[in-house]
Structures are given as structure tokens and as C-alpha cells.
Subunit: 546 residues, 2 copies
Amino acid sequence: MRVPGSSPGRGEERDGSYTITLMLLTRITGCCGKGGGQKGDHFVDYQRNIFCEPQKPNMTENGLGHRERVLNVDTMNPNVKRIEYAVRGPIVQRAVQIEKELKEGVKKPFTEVIKANIGDAHAMGQKPITFFRQVIALCVYPDLLEDDKFPEDAKNRAWRILQACGGGSLGAYSASSGIEVIRQDVAKYIEKRDSGIPSNPDDIYLSTGASDAIVTMLKLLTSGEGKTRTGVMISIPQYPLYSAALAELAAVQISYYLDEDKCWSLDVSELRRAVKAAREHCNPRALCIINPGNPTGQVQNRQCIEDVIRFAAEEHLFLMADEVYQDNVYMEGCQFHSFKKVLFEMGSEYSSVVELASFHSTSKCYMGECGFRGGYMEVINMDPEVKLQLTKLVSVQLCPSITGQALLDLVVNPPQPDEPSYATFIKERTANLHILSEKAKMTEQVLNTIPGIHCNPVQGAMYTFPRLTLPEKAINAAKEQEQAPDMFYCMKLLEEMGICLVPGSGFGQRDGTYHFRMTILPATEKLKIVLEKIREFHKRFTEEFS
Amino acid sequence: MRVPGSSPGRGEERDGSYTITLMLLTRITGCCGKGGGQKGDHFVDYQRNIFCEPQKPNMTENGLGHRERVLNVDTMNPNVKRIEYAVRGPIVQRAVQIEKELKEGVKKPFTEVIKANIGDAHAMGQKPITFFRQVIALCVYPDLLEDDKFPEDAKNRAWRILQACGGGSLGAYSASSGIEVIRQDVAKYIEKRDSGIPSNPDDIYLSTGASDAIVTMLKLLTSGEGKTRTGVMISIPQYPLYSAALAELAAVQISYYLDEDKCWSLDVSELRRAVKAAREHCNPRALCIINPGNPTGQVQNRQCIEDVIRFAAEEHLFLMADEVYQDNVYMEGCQFHSFKKVLFEMGSEYSSVVELASFHSTSKCYMGECGFRGGYMEVINMDPEVKLQLTKLVSVQLCPSITGQALLDLVVNPPQPDEPSYATFIKERTANLHILSEKAKMTEQVLNTIPGIHCNPVQGAMYTFPRLTLPEKAINAAKEQEQAPDMFYCMKLLEEMGICLVPGSGFGQRDGTYHFRMTILPATEKLKIVLEKIREFHKRFTEEFS
């Protein structure tokens, strides 16, 4: 759902999404994708400009008679149909296909596809933190506790985790909110991070990555119908998990725009505009912030966070702070401030009333352990009865992966200065963050030397979201192919250069502006190649369509 | 939602659930739990018969004025409120509390709580399969590939998995449907299990345990409003994941009863009765079967599966086959038949039209690796456009845990006869299944010697669901405490004997009948104690209330 009358959000920006894929799979007979269709119809995939094999028709004939499938696009959950998720959308599927074609020996103007579409550090060559993997290996196969090759602190840590597991095994379920010892460690980590502001383990819920916890919170918050339906404020550009979850829950997306001209900063007057317009049509109940920003790479300053908290208090909004990039701050003068810390420093007038859920994950920062699906959320000022409901809700899925929980424990409780693994740990962490910082600077610098591309500083997180000047002819060519202009651009970049980026339209952007999201994660030498290929492509593209 | 006029399902059976917990948290002032309440109210928890600390009131006063929380029980998602999940309900929470009290030195008539409430083999002392853990440890910490202590086949398997991971690391995301090599291995496993009936890796979706995939399928199937709202047939007794998911999705639960007098078998005439009644009020679109059965431990025979498939075809229902206990068959003469195999053996009249999703998991069978949250589903005859939508839907959560995926790979591709780990693997697997089989028999035998308890054979899975004869006085005493009689019984059993079971009311049962679900997982000596304690308690309970 979109708030009618509010500024356009993701509703209009359908490219880079499956919605458009399905639209593009229009039958060449001209009839639209809905309903049965005739046996043996061919599909044309305009994006790939190829004919597809006839699909198994939706209508079947046998002794049971001609009939439609029980589950087809007309009968399926309409909320699921509305979901869009560009980060893994058609451009990525095409990239995977091109990789297969390269393997099969198909000649291309490049020898490998470089994927800068997703914040997946290990896939881009970043190495795991040794200590983390040692402890998890010890937990997985405790016979190794006898092995001299493992440092004592790794063994102690593994032993402690195993003691907290049912039957001393990672194979047992944990409490649904997570292993108690780990929730205690998370609370201590938060207290230390937030200069001693107390954290209660009972407010910590471990999760399957941060995504899981974010969806759970949005689920709890969604109620009402029509004008009383829950509205949730999300930034534009946004990380499409938010719009996807809201679509699935049939909650109302309220878009507020970040200010590209001011380094993607958040202006409270824009929040006010958005919430005011939304109140005409829905019941705004939550405000989501991603800091450091995804896809825009900005880091919010303390004043801005205070303003946001004051706004949430005044407008009676539940705050959701997505802080999974809390260690990814590169720019001098920038610093990560947690919403919780700022809230409590504003005094009890605010800290006793503002409801807040903040999210963290093992997938980003210096460790990048996406595959372990570890994460947590901390809830502040949550109604105790709602907490019971939350505990019940998460219990239906039994518990998050125990290896993910164990890895999270190491992230929040890394080697200490008096422990044997400390030096190596610090060296690895520092190196990872240092390289990210260098790549953030390099990305900004190089992109800003390309005529027709403008890039804000990558203050934090793992992404840049540069703005593209596209020739009018290219925009028209894209429209002819029913593609968003930046999807058209990115698809050509992929086909011609083997570089996989995500079009800005997959994240939302102001009408008439065009962007892409690119991660800064490829190894330095590879990142240089990516940037030079973008330079070459952008020049050629501009010439071709001018 | 419940179908009005249909036989009573879980709707009435609210004990063993959080709904009742919240009801019991009635303020002693007499006002019901809804709304604001006064600051400083005390709560009484009748279940535990104790007074609780005043909870933080929902109304807050500060510079921002008196007001309710944004998120409270009145404003939260009403579908979430309707969810009930007994397996982790109040009785388990009380068990955890009692364990803490024991640790703190509180005197009880027992020294430990034995939890037979959940199918969690490792928590009950079952040891992991050595080969599985070796391979996962090697994947987690690949330095171990140099280690002589690991067998070559474990190293080869680890190497193969790592090659299929982004950047050769378990820390990278996979494709959202799972690592391709593993999906291929799953397909091969299914083909072998089903005597060569082909399986396509593109029909396999890896998942976070089976629960995740089951909820995803139910989500896809849910649409419509009022009389066109999707109805889903589930057995009574059922595993409460199903009722919980349907409540959350606001889909209509259509209850069909298993026949306790015929060893919990499924009778197609009961399916017909249920679907006919339901068509008056909703749109029945799916039929869920759990085989081997949870909580009832029956194994469906081939004829019955054929009948169910024919029924699904005739009634135009999507079939969901929960087959996570496929290796857990103990009784002579019983055999596991997969729905897929039976479907294809029935000929193309059925195999070309019946839509089927079947589910498997790493959590049960001989391995019991619940904590790894591995699982998969295979979809048969699914509309290709719906498959695109399914892929999109699962991509929003990025991917299942890679350690869970890797473990699943070992389950579907265990050591082969010519490999060094084969002998140990077979020994461990056989031992685990043999012990389960013995415990299944012992449980049935001992329970059936207790006057007032009747227990069907535990043909498969990991549970028994015996019927209790309860004295009228006990039933009245329970009602006075607003408890279901079997909740009253189980809570007393927990308090007096330290045995944690789940009341039958948490799974659904015919009105006026009472049961509990007990796992057969405690170690043999402990299981004997559990059974003798139940004998002693049941005698005492019967005397007390006669």
C-alpha cells in the first residue's frame, strides 16, 4: 500500500524488482501474464531479449478434467505479489546466468562477473576472524578441545558456550529468545558501547540475522484497517527489506526523503511533512532509521539523532534503529551514536517513554559473517504484555541457529587484552576496517572524477549510492523496453562489462533522479578495475545515447 | 479463525497457551487485562499461585503528558495475539523457573526437572553423528584440512561444500533457495529414497528448519476475504506450528480428527466431513499431513496415502506433507512412504496435477541436529510464476544459515560404503535408531500398565499422546482455576514430580478427552524414571480427586 497524496515511494519504482520481471514475461501473443494462458505459449523475456521455453501451462487436462492449479498467480497471496526486493532481483539472476555461460565457454567481453550488488564481505574475499572460527569449530566438534593447536582462550570460550547449550551440544534447541548466557553477554556489550547505560538481558532477543528481528517487530506493530492501518516511516532511499516486509504485512509505507544535496542527511522537517500527509490516510506508528545508512553510506550526527527522538516522542511513534553497520564508520569527524545512548542521555522525560527497538547482526562490521545468520534486537520501554506476545511469536520458529548465536557471542565478547588471541584479533579487525576505510575513500574519489556521476562521501556502512546523469535518449530507450532508466543502465553495464550493481530504483529515489548502489567490498585491486570499467562504460553509454 | 459450525478445533482449547497466561494475569482489582490499568497494580498469576511485582504501567506520565504506549496489547497485531504455541508455553516457562529455583537451593520433592516436552534429542543426551560434526568443523575452520586427525572423506566433503560457498567461506550468503550443489544432493537423495522417481534441484528450496518452509508455503496459499478466505485442513491432534501460522496469517483452520481408537489413523470420510462443513464458510485450498505423526506417533500406510491424494485431487487441494520423521519408524509392519513416491506411482492422472510440497529437516530422525536449523522443501507441480514469487519471497530473508545447509548436505549425502567413515556412521545411526525404537516400545508398554492411562503404539516419530481418565473432581478443580483439565494435571505433575510434559489441549483433542504429549527422548534409564513417576503421580492424583 502507498499513502495516496504522499510523495511517491517504492510504489512507482518497480524496476529492479520481480514485479517488473513478471510484467516482462508477457506472452508474445500479447495477452497479459494473468490467468491460465494456452498450452504451449512461448514467453519472451525482454530483459534478456531471448525466447523462453514454453512453460508448463497453468491449465491441466487429465481424468480430473481441465482445471487451473490450486496455487497460481491469481490465487496466491496478493501481499506476497506486492513484495519487491531488488538486492536479489533480476539483475542478480542475470549475473548468475552469465557466470554459468562463462563457465560453459560462451565468449563475453570480460572473463568474470564482479558482483558489487550485496554486502557480502566473504564472497568478495574478506577472510574470517581466526578466533571466531576457532571457537565455533571447537563448539561444533568438541573433540578438538583436546587439541594443542587451539589457544586456551578459544577453548575456554567454546567450553562456556557448550555449557550453556542443552546437553552440551550445538545441536539442541535454545530458548526462543536465545541462549541466556549470550543474551547476558549482549547486554554487557551494549552497556560498554553506551558508556555504562544499563542493558537488561531480558530486553535482548537473538535473531536469524537482523532481517528476522526487523520483520518480527514490524509484524507486532501492524494492525487496523483502512485509515487506522499501521503506517511505518522509512527513508528513501531505503534498504528494500523494509518495503518488502510492509508489503507482505499490508502495512502502509510512509516515505521520507534523505537529502542527497546534504550528504544524505535526515531533516526533521521532512519527517514532519511525511507524517502529516500520512495521517490523512493511515495511522503512523513507527519510524525506521538505518544508521550508518544503507544504501546511502551516511553517518547520522548526534544532534540529528536527538531531533529524531524528539520527533518520535512528539508524534507518538515507535522507533526502530537499524544499527548493523555500527562499526563501519570511516570518515574523520564522524562517529557512531546508538539511538539507545542518545535516548538515555536526553533524560528520563524521553528515556522513560520512547519505545525503541535496535538491531545488530554478525553479517557486517569487520567480521562480515553473513552466512551464520546471527543477530539480536534490544527492546526499550516495551509493554511487558507485548513482550510476552513477542516471546510467544518467536517461539513458533523454535530458535535462531545456534552456530549463529555462538558467533554473535564472540562478536559481543571478543578476546580481551590479557588473553592469548587478543593481538591477532585486534590485528585482523583493524586490518579489515582499515581496508574498508581506504576503499570507501577511493570509491568516492574515483567516481567523482567521472563526468556525469556524482558521489557523496562514503562516511560509513559498505555502500555508495552515486547519482547518474543519463542522456534523454537513454531514458527514452529504457521506457521503450519498459525498464527504469537506471535498470537499463545497470543491465547494459552487466552485459558489456561484467559488473553487477543494483539500480537506484530498487531502493527508491526522487522522481527524475537515477542512481546505482555499489558495495565497496571487492578487493582493492578488483575495486579499481570495477571503478575504471564504470568510467569506461559511462563514457561510452553517454556517447551512444547523446 | 475457526470455521463456525465445524467441529471444534484449537479455538476452544486455549490452555497450554499464552492466551490463557495473559488471561490469568488478571489484575487483582478485578478489572480485566485490557487497556491502561492504574500505576502500581499488582498482578496475580493463578497458575503459579503467586503475586507478581507491579508491572511497569502502560500509561506514562512526563513532560509529554499521560499517554499509552504506542505498542500495547490493544494496539498490537491481533493475529499475533491469536497465536497459541503450547510446546514452548507456560508449562515450559515454569519448568525453566523451577530449574533456576533448584539451582538456588530451593527444596523440591525432586532434584532435577526432566523435560519431555520437545523433540530435542541432543538436549536429552543423544550424541551427534561424528562424521557430520567433523565435516562442519572443517568447513568452519579450514586450517583443519591440514590436520591428520580428520578422515579423508570428511575432508573431501568439506572441500566440496566450501568450493560451493561464496569466497570459499561459510560466512558468505548463498542463493536464497540454498547452495546449488546441496540442492542437487537433496534431489539425488529424494530420487534414491523414492526408487528412482526423478527430482529436480530447481524444485528444492533449502530452509531454516522445516518450520520456516511450512510457514512460507502457508503464506503463499493465503488469500481472499470472508467466505473466500483460504482454509487449510490440519489434523487434530496437530503440531501447533500449523495453528499458529494460520492464526498469524488469519487463514481459516479446518480441523479434521485422527481416529484414536484406530491408532490415530486418518479416515478419508472424516476429511470429507471437514471439507464439506468448511466450504460453507471459507475456501479450502490446502491439506496438511504429518507423517509419521506429531504428536500422535502413527505411521500412515500406503493405501491411506493414496486415498488422501485422491481426495486432494478431487477436492482441488494443495497437499503439504510434513515428513520430518521419515527415518523414525519403529514398529514392525510399518514403513515410511513419501507422498511424492505414492503420487507418482498412482500414474500421470494424479502426478501431473496434484500440487505437493513436502518438508524435511535436520532436526529429527537419527541425527537430531535441531540447533543447526537445516531443512528443505520439494515442490511438485508448482506454477512456474508462483515459483518466481516463492524465490522472491525467500530472498527477502537472504538465505538459510550456511552451517544448517552444510549439515543438511551431509544428511542427504552421508558416507558411502567405500569411504573410511562409513562403518562408524552406520554404527552410530543404527544405534540411535535402535535406542529410539526400544524406548518407543517401552513407553507404550509401561504407560498401558497404568490404570487410567491408555496409549496407542508409538509406530514412529518421537512422541506418545496417551489418553488420560481424569476424575470429575479434578476436572472441576481445573475449571475453577480457569485451566484445561490436562493443563491442571501436567502443571501438578511438574510441580510435584519435576516432569515436564505438554497437555493435550495444546495440540487439540476431541471435547471431553484429555491427553499429554511426551517425547520418548530421555535416556533409557531416565525414561524409566519418568514413566514410574507418571505412574506414581497418576495414582496419587486419581486418589486425591476421587
